[in-house]
Every structure is written in C-alpha cells, then in structure tokens.
Amino acid sequence: MYSLHAITDSIQNWLSVRFSPLWVLIIESLIVIVLAIALFAVLGLVLVWLERKVAAHMQIRLGPNRLGPAGIFQTSADTLKLILKEGLTPDGADKLLFNFAPFIVMIVAMLALAPIAFANGFQIWDVNIGVLYVSAVSSLSVIGILIAGWASNNKYSLLGAMRSGAQIVSYELSAGLSILTIVVLTGSLQISDIVHAQQNGWWLFKGHIPVIIAFVIFLIAATAETNRAPFDLAEAESELTAGFHTEYSGMKFALFFLAEYINIFIVCAIGATLFLGGWMPFHIGDWTQFNHVMDYIPSSIWFFGKTFFLIFLIMWFRWTFPRLRVDQLLTLEWKYLLPISLFNLLLVTVIAIMNWHF
C-alpha cells in the first residue's frame, strides 16, 4: 500500500533542517492553507458540476455541455460570476451578523476537514476523538444557518432557519448513534484506528445486518443534516423561495452554496471512513492475488471513490424524492430513526462483545 507518510515526513525533514521551528510551523501552515483552499475550490466546482450532470442524466437531458468538454468549466464560470456579483446587504438586516454568517458556515465546513484521512498517511490532524470531533463541529453548522436566517430580516429566511435548526439538531442524534455502532465495533474514536480496523474487510460487510441498518440510518441522517432533498426544508424552493439564504447574493450566497457541498463531502467522507473502510482497498478474505491487485490502486483513489459513491447516492435521493413536510420530517426522526438506531446500537454491542462479526 502506498503511504503518503514518506512524502509528508520528507517535507517535514527538509523544512526542519533549513528553518527554525517557528518558520517550519508557518510554512507548514501556509501549505495547509493553500491545500485546504484548493481542496475547497476544487471540491465545490466538481461537486456542483457532478450534481448537475447527475441530475441531467436522471432527467434524460444532457446538462451543461457547452463550456469545455462535458461542460466542466460551467461551474467555474458560475463561481466567477458569483464572485463578481454585487453582494447585497439589506437595509433592515442585522448587518454585522448578516455578513458574519457565511464565515461561520465556512469555518465550520473547514474545521470538519481536519481529521479526515484523505489517503494513507495524509491527514491534517489525527485527533484522538476523531468522530466525536466531527460530530461536534458539524453541530456548529446549524448556528450559521440560524444566524443567517435571523439576520436577514426576512420571513422566509427566518422560517427556513427555524426549520433547519430543528431538523439538523434532531438528525444529529441518529447520525451520532449510527456512528457509535462503528465506535463500538472498533473500540476507538480515532479515525486512523477505525480505518485500520477495517484492514481485512469493511465494516459494512463485516458487521452483518445491524451495521447495514446503521449505514442506511447514517445516510438518511447525513442527507438531513446537510439540508439536502428530500429534507431540504430549510431552502424549500416551492415553499420558502430560497429559504434561509433568500437575501444573500453574490459571493456570500456562493459561500452557503459551497458550504452545502463541502458538508456533503464531509459527511460522505465520514460515512466512507466508518462503513466503507476509508482509504482501505477492497479486500476479500484470503484471495491474496486479488488483494494485491487492489493494493496497487492508490489509497486516495479508494477514498475518493467511496466518498463520491456516497455522494452519488445522496444526489440520487435528491433527484428522485419529493420533499417531506416539516412535521413528517421530525416524526421520521423521533418515531422511527431514533428508536431503531438505539435498538440497533444494542444489537451491534452484543455482536461486538460476542465477537460475532467477521
């Protein structure tokens, strides 16, 4: 298996030989900043483009195809346009908070990137409470939405923000519980531990039906937490025009837009890490030959492949289902997902203790 440790370590060594520790820190920070921003930009562009293409093909049409091959520059044009568009602040708004909200959303999205293992040995911070950290940070994102909705001084925004507040907050529970199933199986919160525990098979396959149930619940909760259809009540277009970001324009709106996609990426990355083994290649029992072939595929490709597969699933949901009503949304969580995932967690615990999993 390839590991990026060698590369990162050599950079580290090279730097520490040449510069004082402070400078090393600064240079490394700069590298991380540049990488993170680049990742953001590229992810935003690619995901939006992907979504449009997926939507188009499900809807028997072509989708963007006039700018560049298969329209891949379409989103670049959109981004550039959004940057160049006037960023309005309504007169009646709470101007400070109004302009502050996109930053919060962005910071939250960025912070959640920290523990994600993009490849073997490529992780910004392998925090020892990994998944707990991610759920903590993602619970912050509701704040940005609440602020945006309230500060806009617009009824649609406020309604949308309230809805999304209740929604995100509720679905955090079942997301957390399904994350816990994996924690129970692994016995660690650290992302790297979780990935390594799946060396001989992904949890999804090793863990019997309870893990599959947990996976499904996680997917549903992830969709809801990122405000995606069919849970996109916060920006329900046919009800609240544009929901909590009704009053945002230009770059500020683009930041919300981008954050939405980054959040999708993050939850899908977490999902891929927990259930599909992160950057671990696909291994089958003791087919050594096969496993070797799989090992030749770089770990980052595995990671991104899995993540994008989950992203595709979430997009698939979006372009198929009608939206739930707000009370049904909460009923779904409180009456179905939460009891099921609690029960499921106990089941997984039994499996884990009895060592019934593979």
């Binding site: 028997i60 259809a229 198929t320 289902f321 009608p322 939206r323 009503r325 707000v326 009370d327």
Partner: protein, 373 residues
C-alpha cells in the same frame, strides 16, 4: 404606488407572509396572503389581478372570429378546449351545423390537450412537493403532444385551431399515425409516473388527508373539474351535457370520494387514462368529409344570450355571450373553473402547514390567467 389592502395581524404570535405574486409554487402570479401561527396556516387570502388582462372587455370589441384566439390565452394549457367552447357558443348562436369530421378532430384535440395539461400539472405538482425529476418525464411526453399539435395546427401552445363551423385546416396526413404512436408510448409511461410519484410513500404522506374539501363545500364553492370530482361531486360536462361527439364515445366519469389532495391527484391520473381511451375510440374512425362548415365571412349572432360550457382540463368553462345582433359581442363572460376552485382554497388550507398549502394548490391546478382573465 402599491395600495393593495393588507391585513396586518394584531395578535402577537401570528405572522403574515406574502406568497406570490412571484413565487415558484403559485404557478404564475397568484398572490396569497397567509396568516401563520408557527407553521400552521390560520388563514389564506388570495389576491388576484396580477395578470388581469381584461379579456372580457377586449372581446367586446373583437369580432366573433377574432375573440376565439383571445380565449386560448386564458387557460393556455387547455387552449384547444377554450377555443372549442367559444366556437361552440358562436355555433349555438348562429345554429351552424358542424361537420362530423370536424367534431371528431375537435374531440381528439381536446383530449390530447387534456393529457398535455394534466402532464404539465403532474410535473408541476411534483415540483411543488420538491421532486424535480417528474417534471422532466412529464414534459418528455408533453413535447410529443406539442409536436403533434404543431404539425397540424401550426403552433405549440396557443393553437387557434378551432374556428366557428369547424377547424381551421384539415389534419396533417401523419396525424393519425403519430397520435397512435403517442398513445402506445404514453400507456407505458403512465405506469412510470405511478412508480415514481403515486406510489411513493413520501408523496402519499404529503397528500393524503391534506386539503380536505367536503362534498357539500365543493358544491357550495361551485367547484368543478377534478377538484369537485375528488370530493365525489359528479360534474363532468362531457357526461352531463355532452357536446360534439362526446355522447358517442364510451368513457367513465372519474369520481373519488375522499376529498383530499390525493383524491384529486388520483382523479387526474385516472382521467388521463380515460382520455387515452377516448382517443383510441376516435382516432381510427375519423369520418371523411369537410373539416369546416361553410360560414359567412362576417359572423353576426342574433340578439339574446348564449351560455355554453365545456369540460376543460380544470373543470367547467362557461362562455356567456350577450349579443345585441352586432358583429361583436355585447358582453362576454367567461366562467372560469379556476376562479371557483380558488375560492375554496382558504377552506382547504386552514389548519395545515405551509407544505400542505403547496400540495393543495398543486392539486387545484390553478392557471392564473384563467382566473384573472
């Protein structure tokens, strides 16, 4: 500049929200003033007139040949059927005998229009409920119909094909073949619609028990079309007061008795199948002959008043012409189906959520220019 009376709530926890005139779910420019308590709707007050084009006044200065085209701009989704109603009114006044062939063509066109209209409704309603893809599937079939229309009538939406005494031009030679092809295709696609939307659990939860309208209320509000039939009121003009050759074709009047949004939805879905049935019966039997009766160049209706009604995709369209014997009508009133149906909206939406309002409006299938005229 803006002087529309607005009701400002005095109570503390009520919120007054404007929905429309520019709003994705109002299908045009309906303006609803909604009083909310939390997310629960306390009151819905429709404000009309954002597309009031004074068609009635305008028609007073148009001749009987000309005014028909204005009617296709009213309920543009049932343009043919509107034209049909106007043509029938003039024919009734002048006692013109319409040739059989023209009658067949008219009915086929009507039913095609009905399918097209229902398709659009289906797509738009799914869109209101947040599902985007059905819209595209619906338009795929609808485009087939518009292509057929374009080939025969020369336009896609506002065909202006019916004239007093028949239809403007004979059908295109390919017409029958294409319609049959379309019917075959459509029959398979409509099952897809059921798979995608009707059976969907979310959709059913969103519509069942939502926007209830009792039978008594439906009558009292003068509802027609699918709205009334969803509440169990039999009101299909094609059955009750058949015009042209509707008395010769076999079809069922669709009735559902639940009175909720899902019932209205089902009425329309089943109606599409009925329309297919009607077209199937007619398409092979279009008699030979004239497509248009000989009429005078200048039409003059005798003194008196004439009321004709047809079943558009939305319900009963009445054309009430008061004539003084001149070349132009003295007064024309279009009794539009949407107007009455809309008046029942408040009743239906009260107590529901905002999402319910959208579902209810979706099943009302409002076409605002038809309401405002």
């Amino acid at each position: 500049m803006y002087t529309e009376t607005q009701i400002i709530s005095n109570s503390n926890d009520e919120l007054v929200v404007n929905v429309g005139p520019q709003h994705p779910a109002t299908h045009g420019v309906l303006h609803l003033v909604i009083t909310l308590q939390g997310e629960t709707i306390k009151k819905v007050e429709p404000h009309l007139g954002y597309i009031h084009r004074s068609i009635e006044k305008m028609c007073e200065s148009l001749t009987y040949r000309q005014f028909i085209y204005a009617s296709s701009r009213m309920d543009y989704l049932s343009a043919h059927i509107n034209n049909h109603a106007c043509a029938l009114a003039v024919e009734k006044g002048m006692q013109i005998e319409v040739p059989q062939r023209a009658q067949y063509i008219r009915v086929i066109m009507d039913e095609l229009t009905r399918i097209a209209s229902h398709e659009l409704w289906w797509g738009a309603m799914a869109m209101d409920l947040g599902a985007f893809t059905p819209f595209f599937y619906a338009f795929r079939e609808r485009e087939k119909i518009t292509d057929i229309m374009e080939e025969t009538c020369g336009a896609r939406l506002t065909m202006n094909y019916m004239v007093p005494g028949g239809v403007m031009t004979d059908i295109h030679p390919d017409f029958q073949k294409k319609v049959k092809e379309f019917i075959e295709l459509f029959k398979s696609k409509i099952d897809e619609y059921d798979e995608l939307v009707t059976g969907n659990i979310i959709f059913q939860n969103r519509t069942k028990g939502v926007g209830y309208l009792s039978k008594a209320d439906a009558i009292s509000y003068g509802c027609t079309g699918a709205v009334a039939r969803g509440s169990g009121v039999s009101c299909d003009i094609r059955k009750l007061y058949p015009y042209d050759i509707y008395d010769k074709v076999v079809f069922d009047e669709i009735l559902e008795t639940e009175g909720d949004s899902f019932a209205r939805y089902m009425v329309r879905m089943r109606e599409m199948r009925e329309s297919v049935k009607i077209i199937e019966q007619l398409i092979d039997n279009i008699p030979e002959g004239e497509h248009q009766a000989k009429t005078k160049a200048v039409l003059k209706l005798p003194k008196g008043d004439f009321y004709t009604r047809v079943e558009t995709a939305r319900g009963e369209l009445g054309v009430y012409i008061v004539s003084e014997g001149a070349t132009t009508p003295y007064r024309i009133k279009f009794r539009s189906p949407g107007f009455s149906n809309l008046s029942a909206l408040d009743q239906m939406a009260r107590g529901g959520k905002i999402g319910d309002l959208m579902a209810t409006m979706g099943t009302l299938d409002l076409v605002i220019p038809d309401i405002d005229r």
